[in-house]
Amino acid sequence: MNKKRAIILSTVIIFSFFAVYLRLTDLMILSHKRLSEKAKLQHIKVEDIHVRRGIIFDRRGRELALNLELESLYCDPESLNLDNESARRLATVMSKEPKVILAKVPKEGRFAWIARKLEDDTAEKIKRLNIKGLGFLTEAKRFYPKGELTSHILGFVGVDNQALEGVELKYDKYLKTQGGKVFFGRDASGRTLSSGVDIEAKGNNVVLTIDEGLQGIVEKELDKAMVRWRAAAASAIMMDPFTGEILALANRPSYNPNSPGSVSSSDRRNRAITDCYEPGSTFKIIIGVASLEEKMAKQDTLFDVSKGSIDAGGKTIRDVHKYGILTFKEVIQKSSNVGSITIGMKLGKERIYKYAKLLGIGEKTGIDLPGEVSGWIRPPEKWSGTSIGAIPIGQEVAVTPLQMLRAYSAIANGGFLVRPHVVSEIISPDGQVLSSLRDKEKKQIISSKTAETFKDILKSVVEEGGTGRSASIEGDEVAGKTGTAQIINPKTKRYSKEKYVSSFIGFVPADNPRLAIIVVIYEPKGQIYGGVVAAPVFRDIANQALSYLNIPRGKDAYEIPLLIAR
């Protein structure tokens, strides 16, 4: 009996062991792959590395674009418990209609966004509702702390931080960075172990040539001008004429890059580089420089403009006043159309075209912002009979404000054509300078003597008897030129009698230029002349900018030697 029991017991034990072996074989050999995958999923948590765009600084290290960490609300439709009451409470917190929220919840699937990048207090309130199936993920939101300031330079990004405009778009490859995955160990209760890896990947930082202070001055004065002249639009650029560094660039209308969708695409346009206009008298720089460079005229060469009008290809062009006999200098100073066309006729279309091209007209400046247009000037063989009477006075050509500023900077810096740029350095997240984008080589396009002579002529424009008198600054010499141009009416295809573009381009201090500035006011009401509308804006900008930069007055300035003891 005992033996029988022993046999049964042994058999049970053997079969039990055999069953265990079979199960072990199944677990460790046959189902090994599937089970180890399952175990990995349970024990290892995979998270995306938080990719953050680099910061954009102004030239003094002030943040112009940075990132905020905000929480986005998602739902798991399979486990979501969102009845009508919960939906109503959620909608109240989010200030939305319940149906709007319910429309975002799909019938199947495991993930759907409800709202992206919520304010902190809203996210907290939603968490307190404790609705099953809702979750939060932290996302970066691009934030522009200065609001509208520098909006046309900075551009903006989309909801997924994809670059859409401005420096954000042009320097996207530096600002963004590669993402990746981080693996964390976790236990049964969901607690994670340290991975030892930084979960945040930062893009490189970009340093602009823009100075927030100067930008603020330019934008403030543009706003004033827009109100005063009830203008349709306005642009202003301030540049270092020697280096091409853009110190400020502003357009009106403008927009807040934190909510770019709230305005029309037209308001988001960077008119200073994307819009062309007929420059009017500011274009007389071309015939002025050409005749000096070709030694066709000197400052005191006389031109008879006493008729007050001139015929060019059957079209009569008049001066605002009858001047009599003017010197070459006075032709520019008083902005005589008759004198300029007379000089233009002497030069001939080939040379006018050559010097226009030399000064960068009809060519992109190469500024590091997206959307720049090249402007337009017809080659001589395509000029009409009236072109020789139009082009010397800035008609039949299309330029951008930046092109004109670059041309005048060549006078300010002794004859060099600079490349305007808005970014000076790319810096790694740990502060290493990765690349310096300052230009070292410059191209001399006109002689320094011509530049110096024309600078003297431009100074006279702002002196007594010149058209730009209201651009003068007490204590400093200003050199510049006014421009008033009619706008073509797109319906009639003829020059409008009501719509004008008023502009002023100049540099200051004239003998040691630190700032080159252009102001363009589109469709001012009440007054049309560049000397009345744009020149005072130039003066106010230049005056404050020189104060801000602490540049001593050139004329009548005095210094008191002071011994300072420590």
Binding site: R62, E63, L64, L66, N67, L68, E69, D120, T138, F143, P145, K146, G147, L149, F184, G185, R191, T192, L193, S194, G196, I199, E200, E212, G213, Q215, G216, E219, K220, I473, E474, G475, D476, N543, Q544, L546, S547, Y548, N550, P552, R553, D556, A557, Y558, E559, I560, P561, L562, L563, I564, A565, R566
Partner: protein, 116 residues
């Protein structure tokens, strides 16, 4: 011979339990170390979460600071609250800073002596 055999028995009597104790102690040490490492990893993970929270806070504060220190805001505030204005340039005197005079010292160094 008997004496030697007794000694061997004595040695094995002491060493065997010692070895077993050492083995158990080592095993316990390994388990203890491992559990300690896991605890540290949990602590590190908690600290990393705190770090992320602090970084988030820092970013928010940085943004607020940049916003508050906007040139336009500062200028408006100073103008309205304290009556500050951009100085007219004609009213500004630029003072040229000179090197401080070094004290004379007894020396035949002419260069030093002629310094102010």
């Amino acid at each position: 011979m008997i004496h030697t055999g007794n000694r061997r028995n004595m040695v094995s009597f002491i060493i065997k339990p010692l070895l077993i104790a050492l083995l158990l102690f080592s095993l316990f040490g390994l388990v203890w170390l491992r559990s300690h490492v896991v605890t540290l990893e949990y602590n590190l993970s908690d600290l990393e979460k705190k770090k992320i929270e602090c970084l988030k806070e820092r970013k928010t504060l940085l943004a607020e600071k940049a916003n508050i220190l906007s040139f336009g805001k500062v200028e408006t505030s100073l103008r309205r609250n304290y009556g500050f204005v951009f100085p007219e340039r004609v009213r500004v005197i630029h003072v040229k800073r000179q090197k401080e005079p070094l004290p004379y010292k007894a020396s035949l160094d002419k260069k030093r002596l002629i310094e102010p």
